[in-house]
């Protein structure tokens, strides 16, 4: 709790949102659309927390139909909304639930019944049909069900919300860390913030502060002496080099580890695990979890262990619980929680929206802004279920072939900097300008730079050169950017390095060390 420091400059707003994941970006958008002046702060890059690290499944609700009916209902409703309002972020892959030889085929009946009861459209199809659509799925499956799962691009979604909010007057501030909350009597009046890139500190005064910091919500709430008991459930994900499946494929059983395999842009992802971690910023990847995912993958897709594993990462899911601890975090509810701290702890002007999943982010945001309205002079209607995000106005769903089609009829009519992910020079330069950043990692999140098979082997050099040529960085800056990016990529590669990806990594070593000799750059 900080006393006000009069020497710091300050910004003013109706609403201050803390946290730049899907929840925070959704809240900022909703508030801005309702005409509230809004500022969002996020200590890292947008969507660099949970939202950017999940597998991208836009739930149909099938996964929760048996265990968590209210979550299932929420999911199918939001699924339908997002397909319209965020069409450009959604690929209509469809979803498949399959009973592998390791699954009880009778669960399929419970599954169908649960879907029926919660309004999730589900249809049993012949196994032969499922295998025709997904030739790599285990031929030993005994039952198969279709549901309207889809694949969501979380970065597009979050940035889409952020841009939409900015169009309505909001200020979105990534790389701004909340150092403290400013409390005046029994009211939170704002935050003391530092720019992580520039170093300057300043204050933001807001009528309502909305804590959308996800797995870190507890840390933020503490700054106002409030308690938000969020457990961080770490989940491991492995991206495989190409789409082994074109649909979101789920095991038809009670939700457990490693039971989903779905497309994530040009890759596909196997997930996930669930391990309680005391600190959401400490997520060390364990070999046992890697093996578990590879083994589960092998059950769904025989030959999985010979397929190329590209990258591994861990995200932390925020699991809110209002009561005493439970042993396995998976059983804690996934539904969201809206906490009004004025009624809970007597601290006004402060709300926390936590828990939940990206699929229901819009709903969570709506609930939070509805509650904030009470302290902002009265309820204004929410329009986020109708107004499309920028880029989704035509309601055309995303196609995986889009980047390929965009290069036709003369694919090499302009320089392609990242060939794996088909990123052109102009696309890269535009993004650098837009983001006003020199961090290749920031650009990576927006464009998928270096996220393909070569993991930057060819494009890192090119991108660093372009940054330098464009004057955004000097020679030392270009070198550092390149080295930082190499280090950053390695983090996700080294835990699953084997087979084809080791072959690639070794070629990349030859390029960076043998040809370019980056180790002896003047730094």
């Amino acid at each position: 709790m900080a006393t006000q420091n009069p020497s710091l400059s300050s910004l003013e707003a109706d609403v201050l949102v803390i946290g730049g994941g899907s929840t925070g970006a959704g809240v900022a958008r909703d508030a801005a659309l309702r005409g509230f002046s809004t500022i969002l702060v996020e200590r890292r890059d947008l969507a660099d927390g949970t939202t950017g690290r999940f597998h991208g499944l836009l739930h149909s609700g099938g996964r929760y139909a048996v265990k968590d009916p209210s979550a299932a209902r929420e999911c199918i409703a939001e699924n339908r909304i997002l397909r319209v309002t965020a069409a450009d972020c959604v690929e209509d892959t469809g979803g498949l639930f399959v009973s592998t030889p390791w699954d009880d085929p009778e669960y399929g009946d419970q599954f169908l019944e649960g879907c029926r009861a919660t309004g999730v459209p589900a249809e049993e199809i012949p196994v032969a049909e499922a295998l025709r659509r997904e030739p790599r799925v285990n031929p030993g499956i005994r039952r198969a069900f279709l549901v309207p799962d889809a694949a969501l691009d979380p970065w597009k979604l979050v940035w889409g919300c952020a841009r939409s909010a900015e169009e309505h007057g909001a200020r979105i501030l990534p790389y701004h860390r909340v150092l403290d909350l400013e409390v005046d009597g029994e009211r939170v009046v704002g935050a003391h913030v530092r720019s992580e890139r520039g170093g300057e500190e300043f204050r933001i005064h807001a009528t309502v502060v909305i804590n959308a910091a996800g797995a870190w919500a507890g840390q933020i709430a503490e700054l106002a002496h409030c308690t938000v008991n969020v457990r961080a459930g770490m989940g491991l994900m492995i991206a495989m080099n190409h789409r082994l499946v074109h649909m979101c494929v789920n095991r038809c059983k009670r939700p457990a580890d490693g039971d989903i395999l779905l497309p994530l842009r040009t890759a596909c992802v196997i997930g996930t695990t669930d391990v309680f971690v005391p600190d959401p910023d400490q997520t060390e990847i364990r070999q046992d979890d890697i093996d578990l995912l590879l083994d589960e993958g092998e059950k769904l897709v025989p030959g999985f262990r010979q397929a190329r594993a590209l990258h591994a990462w861990a995200g932390v899911r925020p699991l809110f619980e209002d009561t005493a601890k439970v042993a396995e975090t998976r059983d804690v509810t996934r539904s969201h929680a809206l906490l009004d701290h004025s009624s809970r702890e007597g601290v006004a002007g402060f709300l926390t929206i936590t828990g939940g999943k990206t699929t229901t982010f819009r709903l969570m945001a709506e609930a939070a802004v509805d509650a904030a309205c009470e302290q902002l002079g009265g309820l204004r209607p929410c329009t986020t279920a109708q107004v499309p995000l920028a880029g989704s106005e035509s309601h055309t769903l995303y196609q995986i072939s889009h980047r390929l089609a965009a290069r036709e009829p003369v694919p090499q009519s302009e320089e392609i900097i990242c060939e794996c992910e088909l990123i052109t020079r102009s696309g890269l330069e535009d993004t650098i300008k837009q983001r006003d950043t020199t961090s290749l990692d920031d650009i990576r999140r927006l464009l998928r730079l270096a996220m393909g098979p070569c993991q930057g082997g060819f494009c890192i050099y090119r991108a660093a050169g372009i940054l330098h040529q464009g004057g955004q960085v000097d020679q030392a800056g270009a070198n550092q950017t390149l080295l930082d990016f190499l280090e950053e990529r390695w983090k996700g590669v080294h835990p699953i390095l084997h087979g084809d990806q080791l072959r690639q990594a070794r070629l990349d070593d030859w390029i960076f060390q043998g040809i370019l000799d980056v180790e002896h750059l003047p730094v």
Partner: protein, 427 residues
């Protein structure tokens, strides 16, 4: 068709061994999955660039130090004088490209990032870039060619630690209009082969470069007639011009591979690409035939000797599976440089010492792969190049040097076999 020796692998080590054997009268078959890493590497012959963190000025002085501290290093198994002999031989075989240099002093050539990198031999189209004497340099980029950033090169060189001061700057030229916006090094080289790009380049440069400036261009100066384009350009500009190696494809590397392959063909050898060596038929500790998979199935080639030059992990000569097991992929040979743990745990920072960095096959002094007791696995199997363990060539800058030296030494061991003691301990 019967062959004296089958060489597995068409990279620099394989081509070196095959050529040495062929020119001495052997009938040689080279089998390979595909083209070798010559097409990716800068085409200089790097014998030793770094000993730990110290830059090596003289391989002749430093290699013995290296060998005494790393007795498993491939150079440790090359007979002492053969390192030098192999390089001299290499220079005669590649006379068309004018390789020059020696073991006493490394050249210092700029990389495409502007880092001075030591090399023992360089083709004449590249050696003009030697930074040791200092001087003035201008680096030339081509719009549309994304694999060369002259401003960054010049900037980094201006900040580099060098024996004599240099002054570097950059120029960007716009090549004649083409329908392509994205040029690859190979396509540009093809342009020099078939069109008047030399006219354009000479014309574009002559008024923009001072007489005392050396001109660094990306390594794209033609392919089909060796380094004729480079020669022509120097003649017209009356200045030193040098090629700078950049990301793959390596045009100088392709020239090198073409020269060696052509020499092999003239010497009567046969090169078959697109096939896979999968094992051997052996009896009594000798390989009788090499088994190769082609379009129909498996074919057996009876042989007297075999050279395994299949490369390391990058080439598929070694493989690590998802369970943590490493294997040599053609003959299943025993390996050194494997971690003691049952799983391979890579270190969390990119520049840390990493496991498997020195993994590969151990050999005796005839370059024959040996088992844990030091005995040759097969009497007539030799190995060369990146399949050999005991070194981290990309770090110490010794890849091409190892390929030439061990390729040559393996061939020599086949041509003039030393008397073999019953068991040989690995030194």
């Amino acid at each position: 068709m019967s062959y004296d020796t089958v060489v597995v692998g068409a990279g620099l080590a394989g081509l070196t061994a095959a050529l040495r054997l062929s020119e001495r009268g052997q009938r040689v078959l080279v089998v390979a999955r595909g083209v070798g890493a010559t097409h990716l590497a800068p085409a200089t012959v790097d014998v030793l660039g770094y000993l730990g963190d110290t830059q090596v000025a003289s391989p002749a002085a430093s290699v013995p130090v290296l060998i005494s501290s790393s007795p498993n290093h491939p150079y440790a198994h090359v007979p002492a004088e053969q390192l030098e002999t192999s390089l001299e031989w290499f220079c005669t075989k590649t006379a068309a490209l004018g390789y020059a240099g020696n073991l006493d002093e490394n050249l210092l050539l700029p990389t495409a990032l502007g880092v001075p990198k030591p090399s023992a031999l360089a083709p004449r189209s590249m050696s003009g870039g030697d930074l040791r004497a200092g001087g003035r340099f201008v680096f030339v980029g081509l719009k549309g060619f994304k694999d060369f950033h002259p401003t960054l090169i010049a900037d980094n060189l201006n900040h580099a630690r060098l024996p004599n001061p240099i002054e570097a700057r950059a120029l960007e030229l716009v090549p004649p209009s083409s329908r392509r916006g994205d040029l690859s090094g190979r396509v540009i080289a093809g342009g020099f082969d078939t069109e008047d790009l030399i006219d354009w380049l000479a014309g574009a440069l002559e008024d923009r470069v001072d007489p005392d400036e050396r001109i660094g261009v990306p390594a794209v100066l033609g392919l089909r007639s060796g380094d004729a384009t480079w020669q022509e350009l120097e003649k017209r500009l009356q200045r030193k011009v040098f090629e700078v190696a950049t990301l793959p494809p390596s045009v100088p590397g392709i020239r090198l591979s073409d020269v060696l392959s052509s020499a092999l063909r003239t010497a009567g050898a046969r090169i078959v690409l697109g096939v896979r060596a999968v094992g051997a038929r052996a009896k009594g500790g000798r390989i009788e035939a090499v088994e190769v998979v082609n379009a129909t199935g498996t074919v057996s080639y009876p042989v007297s000797s075999v050279v395994l030059a299949s490369g390391g992990f990058a080439s598929g000569g070694l493989e690590l599976d998802s369970f943590g097991a490493t294997r040599e992929t053609v003959f299943g040979l025993p390996l050194i440089g494997l971690p003691n743990t049952d799983r391979v745990r890579f270190a969390p920072h990119y520049f840390d010492a990493q496991p498997l960095a020195t993994a590969g096959v151990a050999t005796d002094d005839q370059l024959r792969p040996v088992d844990a007791s030091g005995s040759p696995v097969y009497e007539n199997l030799h190995a060369a190049g990146a399949i050999l363990g005991g070194a981290t060539p990309w770090k110490e800058k010794s890849g091409t040097g190892t390929s030439v030296a061990t390729g040559y030494a393996a061939a020599e061991a086949i041509l003039t076999p030393a008397p073999t003691p019953v068991s040989e301990a690995v030194r």
